[in-house]
């Protein structure tokens, strides 16, 4: 306690608790795992770059490592936004 104020009111502790609670969510763990698998797969398999026209952007994103990363990021984002 500091000056009668309980320790948990210190912002660092609340942020730490919030982060730990977030990481304890299965969705966050699976989402991060998917992103890591996607990154590893992209490094091993390599990625193609088709161009920047709308059709080419679709081909750019429609590659399995990127799709896995997108699903992982989406999962984590849904948990963070719902808090």
């Amino acid at each position: 306690m500091v000056g009668g104020i309980p320790a948990p009111w210190r912002s660092g502790t609340i942020a730490e608790k919030h982060r730990r609670r977030l990481l304890a969510q299965p969705r966050v763990a699976v989402g991060i795992a998917l992103v890591l698998v996607g990154v590893g797969w992209a490094i091993v398999r390599g990625l193609e770059f088709y161009g920047l026209t709308p059709a080419h952007i679709y081909y750019d994103l429609d590659q399995p490592p990127l799709l896995l990363m997108l699903v992982g990021i989406w999962l984590v984002r849904r948990v963070v936004r719902s808090r």
Binding site: A24, Q25, R27, V30, D62, P64, L68, W74, L75
Partner: protein
Amino acid sequence: MILSQIFIARAHWLLGALFLAIVLEEYLPIVGPDGRRRRSRSLVVPWALIVGAVGVWATVVFADVLHDMVVHFLWGDVLFAAGALELARRRGVYERPWLDAVLPLAFLSCGALFMVHVLIDPSGQGAHWHLALGILLLAAGTLELVSLGLRRAPAVPLGLLPLAGFAVALIAIPVAAAS
């Protein structure tokens, strides 16, 4: 209109990613502030099923074999019906106890369609992959139906593993075939 192999592969791994998102959104539990696990009941899942159904129906146009057309058409019907019923339930428009069995029965039906596909054309391209995918869906549907009858819901949904395996296989198999 006959599509190139790479185009077919792209469609399959995109569908696989969509299905992976559906499975994880629906079956990964959410841990509440009190530490209790609960299932998600978001609207994303039924809408994604409906979008998937439209995508599967679109393949009917491009299929070059009759049984491919019929199987994909029926597959789209199953996905659309499941999505529509789940959407009605989650919006509170139609709530009945039997609706708990909609998703498991959808997985069982899709698994059965995979088996029919293999039975009709056992020497067709990718028959053993269709068999594996069908078995995964049948297992998932069966396990989820079993869990409906359990007194306590399991901490990890029983169908999560075979469903995730199906989705990952749907992504990885066309990659191997296209390489």
